[in-house]
């Protein structure tokens, strides 16, 4: 039982530390449309009738 808890704490601690470092670098924050050169043109919301 103690072994399970020890392993859990170690894995959780490592996961938090690793994820914090990746978050510090900015991973997960990059825009999804900058890795491909496709121009997605928007005509605004009102063309689709989505304004209140």
């Amino acid at each position: 039982m103690m072994m399970f808890r020890l392993v859990f704490v170690l894995i959780a601690g490592s996961a938090i530390a690793g994820t914090t470092y990746f978050s510090y670098l900015g991973h997960g924050g990059a825009s999804s449309d900058v890795d491909r050169s496709i121009r997605a043109v928007s005509a605004g919301r009102f063309v689709n009738g989505r304004i209140k």
Binding site: R5, F8, I16, T19, H27, S31, A40, V41, A43, R45
Partner: protein, 430 residues
Amino acid sequence: MSLNPDLKTINCTACGAGLDVLGGGRVTTHICAYCGTALDALDGYKALVKFDRLDRPQTPFKIGMKGEILGVEYTVIGLLEHKERHWRWVDHQVFSPTHGYAFLTLEDGHLTFSRRFRKPVAWLSKTIVNRAEKRPQVRAGREVFKYYETSASEVSFAEGEFTWAPRKGKKTHTVTAMSEAAMLSFSSTAREREIYHTVYVDQAEVARSFGLTEPLKAKGTHALQVQKSGANDGFLAKAGLACMAVCVVLGIFMFLQNGERLPTQQRFGVSQLPVTIPFEVTQTGRLARIELQGNGRNSWSFLSVELEDPEGEVLFETGRTLEYYSGRDNEGSWSEGNNWAHLAFFPPMAGKYSLTLDMEEGDLWSGAGSSSPRRMSKMDVHIRTGVSSSFWLNLLALVFGCIGGLPLLRRFLHKRARWRGSDWVEEDDD
């Protein structure tokens, strides 16, 4: 007759069948297993009434079986089947020379053990329940029993020895109240009332002790059933939620880390577009963010965005829409959309990058109740490097939330399943 300790068997005075005498000195009625005649054990086993033999209940426990219940050896001395509408359950009257009489009840494959409750406790009646505005409860020592249900059952089958005289069809009204681990049953007939204390017993252990060859097949969750939880459930709940809290705090901290704003020109008139903004990136491997802010109202503008790396290669070509709408209707003022947009990327190398912005399209909107429209006339551009992100920390917080929340969810669902049979309805639930 059963007051005579030497008496081990009798012959039924109705059919002559040999019957074992297993109960102690308080047995008053012996119902013949062969002909169903109730015999008066206090008056020479004279025949009293006759029970129907055809409707025998399904139970693996037979009269004469011995086994341990909660560490005490009991003998099954009688069988009683109760019914209430379509529900049926079997009470096994059990006897121990040292601990007296009790009931081992089999209901939907679940086993419970009931004994007379002799500690001081307030009586809970149907009238009290009917008059109560909140769920009634009684206290027995430190244990609080909350009202569970009111039932009216009748005996549909009886066989063996009893400390009272079962009568077929005789109604027993019972009000039950439940604590975390036990149930109190306040039963009353036209002539007497009594309180029984019931607990859930380890089915496998009792079945093994009584020598049952087939395991009992329990259906659903019994109101008194204790939740089967792992040894680490409590730890996982606490540790998971603590880790989730740590991730949330770190995520908020990272969300607020906006890095360093580069000293580029910040404001442009729309008439100046297209513009090319050079900027220097010194650190790679960190997120950079381009922030655009417009000043239009009830209008939209689509800006094309092109970025060239220090080698003059186009890194990406994309666009952003700045649109903001507002107005007033019968519900009050409203607004939607944003006059700002951003895009973030990882610079592949250090050096001088070139950002080119141009106005591709745009238009005004004038709907009913809208404010007067205004085209975007100027825009602010900020470029930041060394920006952090909380995305993966938020995701990890969600994972830890699931780890910590699962045992709590199971506990909640088990508790709800336990109380599902209760007939109490809160006024708010109507």
